[in-house]
Amino acid sequence: MLILCLCSQTVRAQEKDLLDLVDDGKPKKEIVKNAFKSIRVINGHSMEFLAPGTMDFRILHRFGQLNQGSKNFFGLDQASMRLGFDFGVLQNLMVGVGRSTFKKEIDAYVKYAPIRQSTGYRSFPFTVAFVGGMTMNTMDFPDPTAKNYFSSRLAYYGQAIIGRKFSEGLSLQLAPTLVHNNLVPLSTQPNDVYALGFGGRIKASKRMAFTWDYFYVANGIEKGVNYNPLSVGVDIETGGHVFQLHVSNATGMNERAFITETTSSWEKIDIRFGFNLSRIFQIKKHKR
């Protein structure tokens, strides 16, 4: 009987999963990635970061208003663009520069995430990221005889991004933002503009997703002058490129421009077709 018992014990030991013998059972901490396909939801920054050592070359186009009709090929006759270079420095730090046609504006930013959504040991449910940026208008001053200050060209913005990838299919983020314009065109307009961004993504397939990007501007909106920017679009990934096709009432392609200077409205179908094209280059070879 005893022998039988021992035998069965050995047999059971034989059948045991060998891998269990060396499994320490502790799930490792893992950062949740790819909440968004790109570092921008559409216009606004996303909770996503570039991998260190990579550069994202971004070509953005915003066409004319759709409601111009067939005479202007539904706005495609005109285009405003921004060229951008974004660099991944660390897993949670990136920087970027860009230049837009609109107001010949140069912009630059730093984005850093002290906390990132993770799973496993010491997991955290959402990502918190901060963006600090500035823009510089490089057009000639409208009145060269007046006393013009260099600082008048500058605007700044600060943004916090709180985002979560709820599932493979759904990611949402909130982005409270402050834009400070050193110079505003009208005395009635505030220098400091507060806004809250709502961005999201619903993944339709492995390589396609539906996205939206809305900013509620809390102050400085004058009816008939400027509006809250809303963009809706699709992200399409093709091997090395990400295309973000969308329609939006915003023309601006930096935070200052699309938050404080969106002058057309969805109500009048005063919207435009636009696209962001992103191509990621590996500039520093990944050591392995």
Binding site: L18, I280, H286
Partner: protein, 186 residues
């Protein structure tokens, strides 16, 4: 008292023999190459943290590989690998459970290189398929090195390669295994 001592002795002995039976590593190297013949860039990656356990007595051998542990030259390739091809969030591990068919002909207590035939089941991307591989076991300085080369067909594991990248990514992956196992002490 004598009996107790004897019992302890037997247990210790059993434990010792047991320890020499099994070998393992958590830093095994597994590389794969899925570069298509005319591809301008190499589609290859290495995982240096593969787990492998070998039971020398029975010839059972098992591997466990975390898919997110595969490192590529380019970060974007790694992202595509995990996101679009192997779906690492859904299927984090690839596991092989098999048997060294010619285990009797391998003398684990004598140094040397032994050809080995392994038969078993590979579970990847949620699909389990039979897999046979020829490789060798090298017994040296108390360690056992397992090395093997074989190929897997992506379609068998329901990993689809879109037409768009077919000129770069091959339909099969050449896998090579190189794991140096140390005795497992309990």
């Amino acid at each position: 008292m004598k009996k107790i001592l004897l019992l302890i002795g037997v247990i210790t002995l059993a434990a010792v023999t047991n320890a020499q039976d099994k070998y393992f590593t958590k830093t095994g190297k597994i590389t794969f190459d899925a570069t298509a013949p005319k591809s301008p860039e190499n589609i290859d990656a290495v995982n240096k943290n593969s787990t492998c356990v070998l039971d020398a007595k029975s010839g059972e051998i098992q591997f466990s590989v975390l898919m997110k542990g595969f490192e590529f030259d380019r970060a974007l390739m790694m992202e595509h690998f995990n996101e679009n091809y192997v779906e690492s969030d859904k299927f984090p591990k690839t596991v092989f459970k098999g048997q060294v068919v010619n285990n009797e002909s391998i003398n684990y207590s004598k140094e040397g290189t032994y050809p080995a035939k392994v038969k078993g089941k590979l579970t990847m991307h949620g699909e389990t398929k039979d897999l046979d591989a020829d490789g060798k076991l090298i017994v040296k300085a108390g360690r056992v090195t397992v090395s093997a080369d074989f190929a897997v067909v992506f379609a068998e594991y329901k990993i689809t390669i879109p037409q768009l990248v077919a000129d770069k990514v091959s339909k099969t992956a050449k896998i090579s295994v190189d794991c140096s196992l140390e005795p497992l002490k309990k």
